[in-house]
Amino acid sequence: MSDVLLPERPGEQLLVVGRAAAAALDAGLREAPAGPGADGVEDLLAELAGHDTAVAVLPTGAAGWEVACRASAPVLLVPPGTGRLRFGRVLAPLDGTAPAGLAIPRVARFGPRDLLVLHVLDPSDPPRFWDQAAHAGEAWADAFLARWCDHPTARLLVRSGRAADQVVAVAREERPDLVVLGWAQHSESPRAPVVRRVVADADVPVLLVPVGGQVPGPSTLRTDPPTALP
C-alpha cells in the first residue's frame, strides 16, 4: 500500500495535514528517515524513489519546490497557517490539455465533495464557434467536463484573462481546501510560471501532480479553447 510521506521532524502543522491526507487516501503515514543531505532534499527524493508514495506533504518553500520539481510522486505544498485539512473542496484549474487532465484521477482519490474545475479562456486562442449565448456556455461546459474531468461532483467555472491571476483570484474567492495542478516539472513548460505563481501566492495547499511522460496521444485538439494554464 502506498504511503503519505512527511519530511523528517515534520512539525505539528504538517503532521495534521499528513494525517488528514492519509485518512482521505486510506494510506499509511511515514516520515522520511534522517539522512546525510544538507537540506533534506536529496534524502526526500531518495525516499520517494525507493518507496511507493501516494503523496509527499511538504512545507511551501525552496526545498519543497525543488522536491516537487524532481519527484515522481505528487507533492502537496502546505503554506504557513494551514489548519485542519478536509479535502472536501478542491480547485482544479484545467487548460484543456491532456497533461493537466491527468491530475484529476490523482485528486479524485481524496474523494472531494465539490470538485471545482476552473478553465481560463485565452483570448489569443479563442473557441471557433459560440452558437447561442443562451445555451452555448452550458453546452461547452458539459463537453469540457466530459472530456477532461468526468467526475460526479465536478462543476466548471470559466474565466478569461491571465491564467495565473485567475487561479489565484478564484482560490481566494472560492476558498477551496486545496488547489491541484498537473505539470511537466520543467521550467521551460509554458505552464511552469503559472505553477510557480500559484504556489507562491495561493494561501491554500497546492497539490502538484507530475505528468511528464504520461501524456496519452496528442495533447490537444484544435476544438478545445486552450488557455495559458499550466
Binding site: F129, D131, A133, H135, A136, E138, R159, L221, T223
Partner: protein, 861 residues
Amino acid sequence: MDRAGPEPLGRTVEAVVVRWEHVQRGDGPAALRVRHRLAALSEHAVDLLVVTGRSARRVEATLAPALGPGTRWVWPTRSGRPFVSGPDGPEPLAGVAPGPPARAVGAFLDDLHGRGVGPGLVLLVPGRRDAELRAAGAAGRCATVPAAGPPEVLALLDEQLRRRAHRRVPTVDDDPAWTVTAPAGLARRAVDALFGLATGGVGTRGAAEEHPGAAPTVLAAGVYRGDGADQELRPLPVWTGLEVGGPAVAEEDRRLDLRTGVLLREERGAAVPLRTLRLAHAERPGVVALRAEAAHDRRHPGAAQRVPLGERATSSGHGRRRFARAGDDALDAAVVAAVQRRGRDGDVGTVERIARYATGRRPPPLAEVVADVDAAEHHGFDRLLRDQRAAWARRWEEIDVRIPDDPALQRALRFCLFHLWGLASGAHGGSGELAIGARGTSGRGYRGHVFWDADVFVVPALAAIDPDASRAAVRHRLARLPAARELARRRGHAGARFPWESGARGEDVTPATGLLGARPVVIRTGELEEHVTADVAWSAVHHAEWCREPQFLLGPARPLLVETARYWASRCRVDDEGRAHLDHVIGPDEYHEDVDDDAYTNILARWNLRAAADVADRAGVVHDEATRWRDLAGRLVDGLDPATGCHAQFRGYPARQTVALTGRLRPPVAADVVLGHAGVERTQVIKQPDVLMAHHLVPAEAGPSSLLPDLDLYGPRTAHGSSLSPGIAAAVAARAGRTDEALELLRTCVALDLEDLTGTVVSGLHVAAMGAAWQAVLTGFAGVRVEHGALHLAPRLPAAWSTVEVRFRALGRRLRVQVDADTTTVTTDLPVTVRYDGGPPARVTASATFPRTPDACGRPA
C-alpha cells in the same frame, strides 16, 4: 479473404453460397444433413445460393422438398442463368444475363447488396477444385472457406445455426464507404452522440451499455419536462442498460454502419469479448433491438429497461417484460415496453432485448405497445435485422450523394443524411407533428428548444429526403399558431409572432441570461430576433412548393401565412416618405443587436407579405388585406445600394469599423468571445450569413444581380462563429460559381460534429448544420431548385470533382441528378419538367441528358 480450412468462421453471416457438389453428393447421410442445415438456416432468414450446372428442375427436385416452401434460395442453371425460388416454383432472377457461375455469384451478391447485406456478411463454400468460385468470392470480399466435402460444410453450417440459436451477436460489413468509426481524440460522450440511433422520433445515444454516463441515453422529439426557459427534453427509460461483471472494458471498437443503421461495439483484448449490436428499426417506428454477448460469468443483463435516476416514471413488469410510462398530463408522454431473453453458447452468455417506445400527447395504451413489442419478438431478431438492412438499403437507393473523387466527404455527407433520416423518423408512427430541437434527440443541448434551425435549415433538407417529415415539422408550427397569436397580442401587434425559442406548447422559452465565453450576458434574442416568424412561413411555402402540395398551402397552412403577414403588417413603421421599416431587431448575424432594418429580416418579411397575398388571392379570401400587404411589401426597405449593388446589412452598418479577419480572428472564430459583445458590435464583422441568407432562401427577393457584390462584401467579413454558417455560405458560394471556396466551407460544415469542431458534440449533434450540408450539395453544387412546379438545375462542380450524383425527392418524384464534366443527366420515376441553366422547360419522362454550358472561365458551368 480466403481461409485455410474449415475452422469455425467465428462470426455470423447473413447469406451462404455453396457448391452443388456438397449438397447432392451421393444422396448419402452427410449430403442429406447439409440439405437439412440449409433448410434450417433459411428459416433463420439466411439467404442461400447453390451453385450448379444442373437444370433448375433437377435442382428443385432435390432441394425443394428439403428446404420447404417459402424459403429463398437461388441457383444458376446449366445455361448460366440464375433462378430464384418462388411460390410457384423457380423463376429467373430478374436482370441477370446467362453466364458462368461466377456471374451468378456476382448477381447474387448484387441482389444481397440491394437488401443491405454486404459481401463481408456472406459465407462462400466452393468445391474442392473450384478456382472459379474462389476467385468470385475473393473478388466480392466474401468469407471464402474451401471444404473437402459435406462433413466440413456441415461444420460450417452447424456453427452458423448454433450462433443463431444461441442469439450470438451478428456483425457488420466493414465497407469504408459506409462505416464510421470513433474519431480519435474525441471524448467518449461526444462519440455517444455521433453514434446515436433514432426511430419513431426516439433517439438512443451510442453510450456504453454498462456505463452510460451522466447524459440522458434516450430522448424523444417533443417530450419535455419543466416550464419556461428551463423546459428541456425529458430523459426516458433506458432500454440499453446491461450489467457487465469482471474487469471494465478498457479498449473497444465502435462502428456505425450507415448503410444498414446498425451500431456494433466490440471489446478488444478479452478472451471472450463483450460485443453488442443495436438497431433502431427503420420500418417499425419506435422499435429498438439489442443483442449482447460476453463471457458467461460477466453477463448479468438486469432489467430490460431502467428509469433514469431522479426521473419520475411509473415502471412495472413481470417475467421477461418491463413496462414504463414517463411524462406528465400537460406535456407529451412516452410509454415503453421491453422484453428480453438470455442465452448461452458454451462460455459465451448472450442477451437479446427488444423494446417499443410510443410518444405523444395521448400515447397509445400500454396494451397496444406491448402487442407491438410481442409482434416484434415473434418476428425475431434475425428478421428484424434483415428487414432493417433492407429498409436502409432502399433508403440509400433513393436518397444519397455520390462523390467518387472524395470518399471521405461522401461518407461525411452520408453521416449527415443518416442523422437527418433519424430526425425524419419522428414523423412516423406518432401524432403527425415533428418537433425538431436544435440537437434533435441526440443530446440535451439547447434543452430541445425549437429554433429557426428547424424551419430553414432542417425542413428544406427533409423535404428532399422524406416529405412526410417536412410536412410534420410544418404541422408542428401550425399547431402552435394559437401560442404565436398570443405572443403577438402580448407585444401589442396583430397576427402571429413565433418565439425565438419555442417550447412544448409553442410558448417562448428563451432564457434571460447566458454566457459569452466567460462573461455573463443578457439574452435579447427572445425580444428582438423576430425573423423566425417569417422563417416559419417560409418553411411552409417551401415544403408545399418543393413537394408539390399546393392544397397544403391553400388549406392547413394558409392561416400560418395570413397570420404571419398580419404580424409584419402591424409591426412595420411607415415613415413620412412612405417607406416601411422594421426597427429594433436582431438579424441572423447576432453580433449586432437592436438594429433597424436588418436586411434579412426585412427581405423575409417582404417575402412573407407577398407570399401571404398570393395565397390569399389563390384562396379567394381577405382580398383587401392582400392588397395592403403587397403595397406594404413594396415600401419595405432592404438596404440595397444601387451604386454598389450591395445590401447594407442594417441601417448604419457601412459606418462600422472594418476589421481584417486574420490572426486570432481567422475564421471560423467566435469573434464575439474574442472582442466582447460591445467590441464586435462596433465592427463590420458578422457571425453568419445575413444578407447572404436572404440570397439563399429567397433569391428573387434579394435580387440576383446583387449576389456577387454581396458575396464580395460579406464573405471577408463573416467570422463563421456559428455552426449554422459554413453550410449556408457553401451553398451560396457554390451557386455563385465560387466552387472551390464553397468546397472548403462544406468540409468545415461536415467536420463540425465528426471532428467536434465546436467542442460541444457531447451535448448533441448540430442537426441544422447537417441540413445545411445537404442543402449545400443539393442546391449549391448540384444547383437544384424548385420553382413553379419545375425542377431548375444549374450545377457547378469544384475543380476537385469530376462528377457528383445526388438522389433526392422533389415534386412528388424520386430523382437522380448526375453532374459530369460535360453533361448533366436527370433520371426520374415520373415525368417532370426540367429547366436547365435558365433554358426552356423540357419534359423528362424517364431520363434526359443536358450538355453543360461553359462558365466565364471556359469550364462547364
